[in-house]
Amino acid sequence: MAERQFFKATDPQEACDLLAQYGGKARLLAGGTDLMVAVNQRQLSPEVLVYLGDSGLNYINSESDNLVIGAATPFTDIMGSNLVREEAPLLAEVISHIASPAIRNVGTIGGNLANGSPAADSATALLALGASLKLVSKAGDRVVAVEEFFTGPGETTLEPTELIQEVIIPKKAGEAKWAYRKLGKRKAQTLSIVSVAICCPLDGGQCQGTRIALGAVAPTPILASEASALLEGKILSEGLIDESAKAAADASNPIDDVRGSAWYRRRAIEALVRQLLAQISA
C-alpha cells in the first residue's frame, strides 16, 4: 500500500507547494463535508491530504470595491458576518439555506465551489453577485469569473495543482435588490431540486445589469443571460417578468434524477423566477 501522508498547510503557498509536489494524488481537506462522505462510501481513498483549516484562508475583508472571502471560511462565519450582511446580503441569505447548522459550521465556501456540484448553493449566489475566484498554484495566480469556473458536473477549471484562495464579490452598488429561493425535498438538510438567485441593481426603477442565476438545472450552476438581458434598462412589469421567467426556463437544461424530473425543474425555474422578480418589483 502506498504510504499515506497528511499535511497541515500553514499558508496557501505551502498548500500550493504540496499540490505541486504530489500532483493529482493530493486532496485538499477543509471542512470535509463532501470529501469525507466520499471516503466513508469508499469512492475515494486519498493518499495525500492537505489540511487547509489552519492555512490562513479563513477571513472576510473589505477591499475598496470588493468583499473578499478566504476560501476556507466556514459558512457559519460568512452568514454571521456584518460585512457580508451589509455588502452581500444575498450571500448570507443563500448560505442560511445550505444543509443545517452543523454542516455550515465546518463546510467552507471554497469547498462547496471546488466540489463542482451543479446544485452547489453558494454558486448561485456568487453567480448572481458577479463574483470571481482567485485561484493560486505554485506557478502563480489567476482570477476567473464564477461563470467560467464550472465546466461540468463535478468538474471545474481548477488544475490538480491549484486551489481556490479567495472569493471576490463586488460590493452592492446603489439600490441593488435581490431575492433567492431554493426548492428541496424538504425545508432543511436538503439539496436543491432547483434554486434561483437574482441580483437586480435598480437605477431609477430601471433594471441595470440584472443577474439571474440558476442552480441544479444544468450540468453546472448557470446564469440565465437572456432572461436578464430582457430586463435591461426596463421597469419590471407583469408581462416583462413573465417573459424573463420563460427565458430562464429555456436557459435551463435539467435532467431527471433522484431529486426531481426535468419537466418539474423547468416549470419550477419559471415559477421561481417569476415570483422572485415580482418580489423585487414590489
Binding site: 469525507m36 489540511y51 452543523a102 465546518v106 432543511a188
Partner: protein, 158 residues
C-alpha cells in the same frame, strides 16, 4: 498512521489514526465513547453530533486529524460535578427522548444553540435543530425541552 492528540470531555487523549479515520470512529472504536451514533455515515441524520471547540459538528464526516489540538464534547461531558445539564433535565422532564438514538446529538445541538442564543424563539430552536433527524417524536416535545431548559437556565442566572 498519525498521532491525534485532542481533548475529549476535558481529558487529553492520544490515538493513532490514518487519513480516512473519522472523528466518530475515534470516539466509538478507539475511546469507547458510544453516545455519538452511526446513523448514516453521510452527514445526513445528526445522530453523531458532537461539539468541537464549542461548535456543533457531524463527527461522522469530520476527518479525525482535523480535530488535532481541539476540544471535543460528547454528552458524557455535559454533566458537571454530577449535576445534569439543564438540557438533560429538560429532555427527561418533557419527554424529549423516545427511542433515545437521536437524543445525545439532539441535546448537543441544543446546547450549541443555547450557548449562542440563551433565549431562542421556538422558530430559532427549530432552525438550530433542523439537521438532527428524529423519527419518533415529531419534534414537538424536543422543542418543548429546549424552551424549558432555556427558561430554567435564565432563571438560574437571575
Amino acid at each position: 498512521m498519525y498521532s491525534l492528540e485532542f481533548t475529549v470531555n476535558g481529558q487529553l487523549c492520544q490515538v493513532a489514526v490514518d487519513l480516512k479515520t473519522t472523528l466518530l470512529e475515534v470516539l466509538r472504536d478507539k475511546l469507547f465513547i458510544t453516545s455519538p451514533k452511526v446513523g448514516c455515515n453521510t452527514g445526513d441524520c445528526g445522530t453523531c453530533s458532537v461539539l468541537m471547540n464549542g461548535k456543533l459538528v457531524r463527527s461522522c464526516i469530520t476527518n479525525a486529524l482535523s480535530a488535532q489540538g481541539k476540544e471535543v464534547t460528547t454528552i458524557e461531558g455535559l454533566a458537571e460535578a454530577g449535576e445534569l445539564h439543564p438540557l438533560q433535565e429538560a429532555f427527561h422532564d418533557n419527554y424529549g427522548a423516545q427511542c433515545g438514538f437521536c437524543t445525545p446529538g439532539m441535546i448537543l445541538a441544543s446546547k450549541a444553540l443555547l450557548d449562542e442564543n440563551p433565549k431562542p424563539t421556538r422558530e430559532e430552536a427549530k432552525e438550530a435543530l433542523s439537521g438532527n433527524l428524529c423519527r419518533c417524536t415529531g419534534y414537538g416535545k424536543i422543542i418543548d425541552s429546549v424552551m424549558a431548559a432555556a427558561e430554567q437556565m435564565a432563571q438560574a442566572k437571575s
